[in-house]
Symmetry: C2
Subunit: 394 residues, 2 copies
């Protein structure tokens, strides 16, 4: 049982206590007092959570507004917010397919003058992933006067723990139209996701982006593990920084450079492919697959830039290797060697980003020394965004 | 049921499948494949988790080694890792008392040449707070050649979810003695916490610090909410930055400047008191209590520096106020006014730190717009540490 649910339950137990003596008994247990304190704190945090009275709302299914981040427009998908269409099911491994069912990286952008934004959502498996905002929460950004999307609100954790299907994501200043963007959760299979605005308010979906998207293919890191809110996963952050659409093809534990995946990626008309698979591969797999994968992708997309990324330097390398210098793991060396060879054969549009301090230098950017937390996600976005920008301006 | 537990259960279900057809059936459900992928990824992450064979270990209860971060040495506490001694129970509110039972901010520092460090722990309430590393995990740092403690390992999330009582926190390079520091969890009541090293290895507790500690009094923010690992809560980070001992008196939802709390704080011989309570107080409470609190603390500790901190500027102020400039909430203005008055009366050792961008300027530093995540914790540490250093050097 989650901490918050437990503490909320204890607090509820207190509130329904009929007699003063029952309450006194309850208050003798310090854990119960802690429960009340936390419940009160959470209630304060949940400010934007729910009003006593649900106002009259207009609901719109996000897939009908037009989702950003779902490649292959017009194809049939197993779920409205899945990432790979049915016709490619046999092109990819079972693990990639299973991971592709989550709406990772997808968003909806729209203009409204509503003074509240609500969410109504259905997960396929109830709420199997409650333990952090990013995995199960919706993440709201608003455009400032320069058109930059800036963070505004995330599903309150109490709503995630409650498995609330419908809730107020944010109260807003009313009266004037503004652009908003809602990022979908990183790690659950959604069967429905609706945005609600006050009845009678304006609502205009943003035009579908004319630009080609940045396409990220990779591991659980691309999939957004340990980002505290979904909009902070580095592909989404890079999309905001460069003001470009993003397709997130992160497949937890399953990015292993199969040739079928190269062929699948090649069917997307991308601005750039960012390939970030090292962490899911052994040196043997890199030697067997990386070159074939890159050659096949290049064959099918002769002119599209490809940026190959390396596993981030371990923050604990100073300890294990008695040195702060970059340590090049054999599998990373193998991948560098392959990319260099292809470049030397004349591929001018194949690029490489080294792993040195990809998560930054503070040493605390990954709570498990593998997946970046918010510090690591931000550091990655700040490394990738200028590198991509430079490549695209060439 | 937590995501990881669910997925691990599904993966186990697969592994024990007796027949190929049962496995085929299992693999038809994409959620099950996702379970396997995640379980595999977690197994990889849990590298430092557990060996098949537990080696022969010497166990030492941390409270017997000498805990850093527990003020009032020699007093009786309700639990070995509680933060306020029994004799002060009636000086503080019930909520503060309940919150004081957790070992927040405590650590043990020791030298060993063991090539493994193990943890064995008992929580009072099983594991009521499983949902993040920081709340229930132990956090290991190692000293580099300059004596700076740098992050090395955190309880793997799989061990937290399993509620493992005994596990290997980290495999280490053996053969040479080195200083380590283990931070205790932020949010559970510990009845026992033991460090295990390989039998026959050296083990030397660090001498108890001769310096007076930095004493932080505050809200859930000081208590470490949303820090992904316990050593990253900003008081602990500041302690490492300034190489000084820290006492963390963060009480979630309960920092409300009672005069009894000022009297309790004054019994600690602190290098500095950092008072960070605004977020738990209304303007009314600030006006009623802040001046009394500060006057009483000053009366009892005429020469100890006091640094009063303000609530961090909301990252969404640009939206709500149509301005990026600092917004001073009435309760913050009230607190500033009180501190200015006391300063103008001649208190040279009373200092103030404003809330402007205390969580940094990236706008994504707090997933609930109240408690800092890792980005906000780091930004706070980088603001507080030089301010405290400057005050202490005067």
């Amino acid at each position: 049982m989650g901490e918050i649910r437990l503490w909320r339950a204890r607090a509820a137990e207190y509130r329904i206590g009929k007699t003063k003596s029952a309450q006194r008994k309850f208050m003798k247990n310090p854990a119960n007092i802690m429960a009340l304190a936390l419940a009160a704190a959470l209630a304060a945090v949940a400010r934007g959570g729910e009003s006593a009275q649900t106002p009259d709302l207009d609901w719109r299914e996000i897939s009908e507004i037009g989702t950003e981040g779902q490649a292959w427009k017009g194809e049939k998908f197993p779920y409205p917010y899945a990432r790979i269409p049915l016709k490619f099911k046999d092109n990819v491994t079972k693990n990639v397919w299973a991971n592709s069912l989550t709406p990772t990286g997808m968003s909806a952008t729209f203009e409204t003058d509503s003074d509240q934004i609500w969410i109504s959502r259905e997960f396929l498996h109830g709420n199997p992933s409650p333990f952090w905002f990013g995995n199960s929460g919706f993440d709201l950004y608003a455009a400032d006067k320069d058109g930059n999307f800036r963070w505004l609100a995330t599903t309150p954790i109490a709503r995630i723990k409650d498995n609330s299907k419908t809730y107020k994501l944010s109260s807003l200043l009313g009266g004037k139209p503004r652009m908003y963007r809602v990022y979908l959760p990183l790690r659950n299979i959604l069967t429905s996701a609706k945005i609600g605005v006050k009845k009678g308010s304006s609502f205009k979906p943003a035009p579908q982006p004319a630009e080609k998207p940045l396409v990220f293919y990779g591991t659980s890191i691309v999939h957004g593990a340990w980002a505290t809110h979904s909009g902070l996963s580095h592909p989404s952050a890079i999309g905001r920084m460069l003001k470009m659409p993003v397709v997130n093809l992160g497949f937890s534990g399953s990015a292993q450079m199969e040739t079928g995946m190269a062929e699948t990626l090649a069917t997307i008309d991308a601005a750039i492919y960012v390939i970030d698979a090292t962490q899911n591969m052994s040196e043997k797999l890199v030697r067997e697959r990386c070159e074939k994968f890159l050659r096949r992708l290049r064959e099918l997309r002769p002119n599209t830039p490809i940026l190959v990324a390396e596993e981030a330097t371990s923050a604990t390398a100073w300890y294990w290797r008695d040195s702060d210098g970059p340590y090049l793991a054999p599998k990373c060396a193998a991948q560098r060697e392959i990319v260099k060879r292809l470049q030397s054969e004349g591929d001018k549009n194949l690029h490489y980003i080294g792993g040195e301090w990809l998560f930054g230098k503070d040493g605390e950017a990954s709570p498990d020394n593998c997946h970046p937390g918010d510090l690591g996600m931000k550091a990655m976005a700040e490394r990738f965004a200028p590198a991509i920008e430079k490549i695209l301006k060439k």
